[in-house]
Structure formats: structure tokens, C-alpha cells
Amino acid sequence: MSSFDLSVITQNIPWLWAGMQLTILLTLLAVAGGIIVGVILALCRLSPWWALSAAAKLYVNLFRSIPLVLAVFWFYFLVPIVTGHPVGPFYSVLIAFVFFEGAYFAEIVRSGIQGVRRGQLSAALSTGLSHVQALRYVVMPQAIRNMYPVLVTRSIIIFQDTSLAFVVGLTDFLTSANIVANREGRPVEIYCFVAVVYFLLCYAAEAGLNLSKRRVAR
């Protein structure tokens, strides 16, 4: 193996940047969709209707017991059958992430709501607020504050997990890098570069989160 050759990276920056754009897009859409699915599931789980709550629980437990790769395979196979025509890897992967991550977000939202002390609801009700008002003005603001660090952490995990789109050949950052590595025959430089980029981005995101947590904590 000859010495470390950085030019193989600089020459392929446009390729890698295109991959990174797809990774970021996929992450943003997956987080947004996952949160929507998660909130719906959490409300179902906390609802007084037994069947709805049980169904949501089954959904969450099932998705949380399988690997993401399997979910990606599932949806890559299922989506074309359900829609009746091929949709390409991007939409399959996106749908897989939304449904899969929805199960994780559901647990985050649920424990955020349940983490608010019961006395807070009593206090709000005892001043005459209605149930909806108590949830809206007293419980939810606290729940969101409880949840938000976990939501951000989960989003960082999703950013990392989008690299698993590799298994169906979606040209995200990692897959683009993989193509370059094979074409140029320089896996060492390329994979090290990929690792460093992921590390720096995730490290920065986590540092930002810690900074904002310190600011919020009173």
C-alpha cells in the first residue's frame, strides 16, 4: 500500500457532496415524518380506548424488535407491490425510515408526556383550567422541554442510520463514497474520509445540543 493520497478525495468532492446532500435530505424528511407518526402513535397509546392503545403498543414493540436493515428490505419489497409501480430506492427508504423511526419517536413522546409530574395536572385543573387547556399550557410545554434533547439525539442517530440505505443502493454519502472507492481503488483514503466527516458532523451536533441544554437549564 502506497502512502496516503489526499488527491483522490479532493478530485471527487462534487460526487461526495451530492451524496451528502441526499443524506441530509433523507435525514430531514425522516425526522419530520417520524415525529408526525410518533406523535400520532403516542396519542393512541395514551388514549382511553383499549383497542387503539393495544394496537399502537403492538406496532411500537414490533418495529423496535427488528433491525433497521430488515425494515428497509421490507419496505423496498412492499412499497412497489402496494403502489403497483416501481418507486425507486429513495421513496422506499424514506417510507421505511418514517414508519420505523415513528416507533422510536412514539416512545420518546410518550415518556415525555408521562414524565410531567401528576401534581402539575392537578394544580392546573384546580385553578379551573379545562383538560385541554391544562395539556396545552401546562403539560405539553414541559413535555416538549423534557423531550427535546432526546429528540435531537435520536435525529443524530437517524443521520448516522441513513447510511444503511447502502443496502439497497441509494446513492447517499456512504454509497457515493463506496462507488468512488471502488472506481479509484483507494478504499483507505475514502473510508477514512467518510468516517472523519461523520464524526465531525455528529460531534458538532452533540456539542451544540449540550450548549443549548446548558442555556435552557435554569
Binding site: M1, L62, R64, S65, I66, P67, L68, V69, L70, F73, W74, F77, L78, I81, V82, G84, Q160, D161, S163, L164, F166, V167, L174, N178, A181, P187, V188, Y191, C192, V194, A195, Y198, F199, C202, Y203, E206
Partner: protein
């Protein structure tokens, strides 16, 4: 939607034995990796709260490095990059002479990745236990090693049973990433059944059910361990970790 159901396919050969072999590989890979990760993670997590500043920092970086790079990238690093950057003889051994290179490297990678996550959990348990027991143990004349071994780590394990349990479940799920370097574990085998037979529903359902059974069994074991701990006068899970 025109799909020809054929549930019998997953019980036909060779597909049944593919799936069962996949299950075997998943369980072996995960348990082996766990056997490495638990002691290693406990060590790193303990050192992170220990008396030496330099070692604390080093362990913090260990955790950061493994947490902030996607597992699949780590798999590639171990499998494609590591043999190239070590001395030639070692690289040659890894590439040519190692009996089952995919499994071995995948297991190593999964073990180190998980050890960093276990280290975080153990550290949070040690911090939750607080300075009181540490000072009490040291004041009674114990060495640091003894304080951790007999007082602080037992407390930390009891406090962190729930997150340790979910980490144990996670290692089975994470082991599927090893398919990207060619380990034929459960997910890979179900995918292979799908490619050969086009019976995706059946193949993936089989894999899903097997994974669900694994996590159900793990929760059962964790529950039993937990009961054992709380019977033994432990803190149980009443004291939740935030």
C-alpha cells in the same frame, strides 16, 4: 396487487436451513460480541469516573469515536481499511489466513461499538450512585479497585438494568449491519430467500418473527435477572435512570 402467497416456502429446503443458519449466526455473533463488550465497556466506563485525569479523557474520546461514526462505516473500516494500515505481515494474516474473516472482523467491530455504548451506561450509573458510597468505601480503607469492584459497580449495574437490557436487545439488531461485509446472518439470509424465490412476504415475516422471539426471550431473561438482583437486596429498578 397480484402476489402469489406461498407460506410453505419457508419450510422447504434449502430455505429453511438458510434461515436457521442465519438465526444461528445472528445469535452467535451477538453473544460473542456481548461477551467482549460488557467487560470492556465496564472497564472504560469505570475509568471514565476514576482518579486519573488523562485516562478519563482518553476514555471519553474512546466513547466519542465509536458513537459518532455510523456502525456500517466502522464495519468498512475494520474490514477494508484495517488490514491495509497494519504492518504487512499482520495484514496478510488478516486477509489470507484468518479462518472466517467476515465473522471475526464483524464481531470485533460490533463488540467495540457496543463497548462504547455500555461504557456510557455504566458511567451514568456510577454518577447516579453519587459520591457518598465512593467516599464511604474509600474511607473504610478500600483501594479504588476494591471500591469499584465491591461497592460502586454492583450499585451501577443494579441502577442501569433497564438501559443495559435495551443495549442487549440492540446488539441483536445491530448485528444485522454485518451483512454489509458479507456475514450471512438472519436478515441477509431472509433477503437471499427473497431473491431466490420472490416470496418476500414469507421470508421477511419469518425473519421478523424470529427477531421478535429473540427480543421476547431477552426481556424474559432480563426480567429474571432483575428479580434476582432485587431479591438480593438490590435497588432494583425503582430508582430510575434519567
Amino acid at each position: 396487487m397480484s402476489y402469489r402467497w406461498n407460506w410453505g416456502i419457508i419450510f422447504e429446503q434449502p430455505y429453511l436451513s438458510w434461515l436457521l443458519q442465519g438465526l444461528g449466526v445472528t445469535v452467535a455473533l451477538s453473544c460473542l460480541a456481548w461477551a467482549i463488550a460488557l467487560p470492556l465497556g465496564t472497564l472504560v466506563g469505570s475509568l471514565r469516573t476514576g482518579p486519573y485525569r488523562a485516562i478519563r479523557l482518553l476514555c471519553a474520546w474512546y466513547v466519542q469515536a465509536f458513537r459518532n461514526v455510523p456502525l456500517i462505516v466502522q464495519m468498512f473500516l475494520w474490514f477494508f481499511v484495517f488490514p491495509e494500515v497494519v504492518p504487512k505481515a499482520v495484514g496478510f494474516f488478516l486477509k489470507r489466513q484468518l479462518p472466517i474473516p467476515e465473522f471475526t472482523m464483524g464481531c470485533l467491530c460490533l463488540a467495540l461499538y457496543t463497548s462504547a455504548r455500555i461504557a456510557e451506561i455504566i458511567r451514568s450509573g456510577l454518577e447516579a450512585a453519587g459520591n457518598g458510597p465512593r467516599n464511604a468505601a474509600l474511607a473504610s480503607g478500600m483501594t479504588y479497585y476494591q471500591a469499584y469492584r465491591y461497592v460502586l459497580l454492583p450499585m451501577s449495574f443494579r441502577l442501569t438494568m433497564p438501559p443495559l437490557t435495551s443495549e442487549f436487545l440492540a446488539i441483536f439488531k445491530n448485528s444485522s449491519v454485518a451483512l454489509t461485509i458479507g456475514v450471512l446472518e438472519l436478515t441477509a439470509q431472509s433477503h437471499q430467500v427473497e431473491s431466490f424465490t420472490f416470496q418476500g412476504f414469507e421470508a421477511f415475516t419469518a425473519a421478523t418473527v424470529l427477531y421478535a422471539l429473540i427480543s421476547w426471550a431477552c426481556l424474559g431473561i432480563a426480567g429474571a435477572v432483575n428479580r434476582q438482583l432485587s431479591n438480593a437486596g438490590g435497588l432494583g429498578t425503582e430508582v430510575a435512570i434519567k
